[in-house]
């Protein structure tokens, strides 16, 4: 005779408002021993933003810089951070419908890539040698 029923509720709960920052910080701290010292200042800034930051734009900016510099060698930690931040943004936004962090990150990456492509295309179409050209200055206006 069966003696036990199945209790799925014994599983660990998903990250909460209180825990996600600590989880994210732990991932960042684990990166220190495996990254080169020039990246440590960036990681310290990201750690600080994740712990104390109230301005999501600043947190995104420093996260994107870190991701750009380190993700190629540390894909898994940045995947974990991305997922954790995505879930947490929804948590902190409560039930208010909002654009997900995943979308914001994708848009930001896309917009930067688009700008870069557009600049190179303009230089090419106007016959400039963009290897030898002077640094191009442009202003990015986000609307």
């Amino acid at each position: 005779m069966p003696v036990s029923t199945f209790h799925p509720s014994t599983q660990s709960p998903p990250p909460t408002k209180r825990s996600w920052r600590q989880d994210a910080v732990r991932i960042v701290e684990d990166l220190f021993p495996t990254t080169c010292p020039p990246h440590w200042d960036l990681l310290l800034d990201l750690r600080e933003q994740l712990l104390q930051g109230q301005d999501w734009n600043k947190t995104f900016d420093i996260f994107l810089i870190c991701r750009d510099r380190m993700e190629a060698d540390h894909y898994l930690p940045f995947y974990r951070l991305r997922r954790l931040m995505t879930q947490s943004l929804r948590l902190e936004a409560g039930n208010i419908p909002t654009v997900s962090l995943e979308d914001i990150l994708r848009r930001r990456h896309r917009s930067l890539t688009d700008v870069s492509r557009a600049v190179h295309r303009e230089l090419f179409e106007h016959g400039h040698d963009f290897q030898a050209a002077k640094p191009v200055q442009f202003r990015l206006v986000e609307r």
Partner: protein, 157 residues
């Protein structure tokens, strides 16, 4: 002289651990199958083939775990909804996903399975249920080997 009893002694920790291992393995098999179908990019052939080999192993393991529960005289949980509730493994949405993200997601899923299987290995040892422990050790070997392969894939991309 002692005789073999008709029923095998069991503990609740072992039964719950086997139920969780069953749910985790089922969820992981479904996610690996999803990755097998939808992976794209220059590594398509190697990942498509590797994922197939992994979900086939998981499919066989699920049967073995469920039959161990039956050997302990416990009904095996079944059905997609019931098994999904029994696992912390998250489902990827059906959308275009980078091959690297499929691999990273499967790494996380294997890690969850390994963590729960460690607990079951411990509890089955404490309960002197060496047959369950043997099964779990076999499963752990598979998950650890798969983790090594998946993690290796993400290096130097």
């Amino acid at each position: 002289m002692s005789t073999q009893t008709a029923t095998i002694p069991k503990s609740n920790a072992v039964v719950e651990g086997l139920q969780t291992l069953l749910s985790d393995s089922y969820a992981l098999m479904a996610q690996t199958h999803l990755a097998h179908w939808n992976v794209e990019g220059p590594n398509f052939f190697q990942l498509h083939t590797a994922f197939q080999s992994q979900y086939e192993d998981l499919f066989e393991a699920i049967d073995e775990i469920a039959e161990r529960l039956r050997a302990l005289d416990v009904l095996a949980p079944g059905g997609l909804q019931t098994l999904a509730k029994g696992s912390r493994i998250e489902e990827l949405p059906t959308q275009t996903t980078l091959a690297k993200d499929f691999v990273a997601h499967l790494i996380e899923s294997h890690e969850i399975t390994v963590a729960n299987a460690h607990t079951l290995r411990q509890s089955s040892g404490e309960s002197d249920d060496l047959e369950t422990q043997d099964l779990v050790i076999g499963r752990l070997q598979f998950h650890q080997k798969t983790l090594w392969m998946l993690r290796s894939f993400l290096k130097n991309l």
